[in-house]
Symmetry: C2
Subunit: 355 residues, 2 copies
């Protein structure tokens, strides 16, 4: 149904895709001011922060996953889906260098979902809570005219002297990521391909056995708890940090913009898994494109001062991929061919044509 | 699309409607334990509570509104919708005798929504934030294959010695509500009737002028901030409290069950607005049925000790409607005809048949 009267009254009809997700959020929230003394950090980072006094912060993040956009019931087992819905929110808390402690889960479902289907979904939610040691403390359950919508709010504990935002990167800092990139994206292409084959010929078996890593990265990602624990243990404080949900390029732009710096990443240093390399080439996609623009990796991208180089070198599973430079340089990729290419941030989903 | 493989693997297929909303939540969350020291109050009340130390609590509530279930773009102006999405969540914080301070807003939209439409929605969100003095500190924006989904998380400040849950009602307590009931439900019936007339005959004008109160109660409800401020000012601590979102009967059952008490409400004392009375009769519905089972009133239902009767009498806009009795009495209505009728809790939406 069209939003009839309200729309008729308006003179302009600007398509949301003209602004994109981030432009749209900027547009809608640009005039928002924080009036409460306790509102420490508002819109514009992976999570918001509330001042609890005594240097303590509560860190809060919310994300919604919509069936048909973020997941497909043809290949998303409900248990994995529940797990992923929790993990992607915990990732935002870790990205602030904070520790998730509680979540709330709000679910809307159509009646195609049985009690047993919801049992599987909640099994995944509870498994994630148990593994990451967070409590499910609230939420609601309501009906939907079509499909499932899962909205999770994660709440974590942080402190003012340890909070890491997108704004602190400085020229000369080192740029790092916590793991290989692009695998979740290639995993999604694989699942989509097998779905299409299955739809055309339902008696064939899906061929997913040779790329278990890619499938797992797509369907059951993990959040980077170990990295945040390492930061604490080794007294290492990144100067900026963000989780990689929309693709490395998009996140580099966020840090560059928020910190007012440029960033140069070396293509040869961007970690890409062997399975990602192989399958990407099978799909005729350049593996580096998957890493830059694929998304859903849920690794952490962070910067550290050059003086912390040794600490980062001892950190397990961390890759140094580039340098923070003067803002005039923009965000660039130093290719294996020895050239500098301007990057594009293409991470977000376009708003789909809909009713 | 059917949740194919996962569903095939299961032996049972239990329709979610066999349990109902509350039974379903009980079923899915019955084995959840709270492991974090800071998790003070989990699932089962209007909001959860996190222990901040020193007797301070953070109170958190989440709710999702889905187009086609909770609102209809034919008659919900986007500004009102944004306002209502915030207010219904603040209502849950007030129901804990706490003070809302921050919200996060997560929105999923199809591309039928223009930037101007979202401007109107955010205008309503910001207006509610300004009126209730809460800060919009975070959220996300994503696409949806159909329609709009708005998920709001409200965060408030409370204290251990002032927190009011559903569990404290005692035999002998007085049962109160903060305002008249059933108006939002009759308002919805009016809007639905005019929508049907309009769909059949688009050139006629809607007849809503004679019931402005009912339309406003449905489209732009308010949360009971004044009541919570009065409790604080007059040092009055209700023994239990809940907000009336699913209808008085449903909420009475929640308090009776959580507090292990019975409740008897006098029909003649249930406040019903003149417009509600008139229009309900026009629709051939008993006005008391609208008050008991209508929902979306967002008034507070609370109980106080008999010793606090004088304080309640001085409270503006409060109605004493009944008594807390022994649990064996159940939840009953003492009708104007002088008979005791067992009430039914019928508040929730059934899960609609869907894809």
């Amino acid at each position: 149904m069209e939003p009839g009267k309200t729309r008729d009254r308006m003179t302009k009809h600007t398509d949301v895709n003209t602004l994109g997700e981030f432009g749209l959020i900027d547009h809608l929230t640009k005039d928002i001011k924080l009036n409460q003394d306790s509102s420490f950090l508002g819109i514009g980072d992976d999570a918001a922060a509330i001042d609890l006094g005594g240097g303590k912060l509560m860190v809060v993040s919310t994300d919604t996953m919509v069936e048909g956009i973020h997941f497909d019931m043809m290949y998303s087992p409900l248990k994995h889906l529940g797990y992923k819905a929790v993990v992607t929110n915990l990732s935002d808390i870790y990205a602030m260098n904070a520790h998730p402690k509680q979540i709330t889960v709000s679910i809307a479902i159509s009646s195609k979902y049985t009690v047993e289907a919801l049992d599987e979904l909640y099994d995944g939610i509870k498994t994630a809570c148990s593994f990451y040691n967070v409590d499910l403390i609230g939420g609601d359950m309501t009906s939907s005219p079509r499909g499932m919508i899962i909205s999770v709010t994660a709440i974590g504990e942080g402190s003012m002297d340890k909070l890491v935002t997108r704004t602190g990167a400085k020229v000369g800092d080192i740029v790092c990521v916590t793991g290989d990139l692009g695998a979740a994206y290639v995993g999604l292409q694989l699942l989509e391909r097998e779905k299409q084959l299955y739809m055309n010929q339902p008696d064939i078996q899906p061929e997913l056995e040779d790329s278990p890593y890619l499938i797992e990265r797509q369907l059951k990602p993990e959040a980077c708890r170990a990295a945040v624990q390492y930061f604490e243990k080794s007294n290492l404080l990144p100067t900026s940090m963000i989780d990689i949900s929309d693709g490395l390029a998009s996140e580099l732009f966020h840090i560059a913009k928020a910190s007012n710096v440029g960033i140069i990443v070396e293509e040869a240093k961007v970690p890409i898994h062997d399975q990602t390399q192989l399958k990407a080439l099978e799909f005729n996609i350049d593996p580096i494109t998957c890493a830059l623009n694929g998304g859903e990796d849920y690794e952490l991208l962070f910067t550290v001062a050059e003086s912390d180089l040794e600490k980062v070198r001892f950190m397990p599973d961390v890759f140094i991929i580039g340098d923070v430079v003067e803002p005039a340089n923009g965000v660039k990729l130093f290719s294996t061919g020895g050239k500098l290419h301007a990057m594009k941030a293409q991470g977000w989903n376009h708003f789909t044509p809909g009713e």
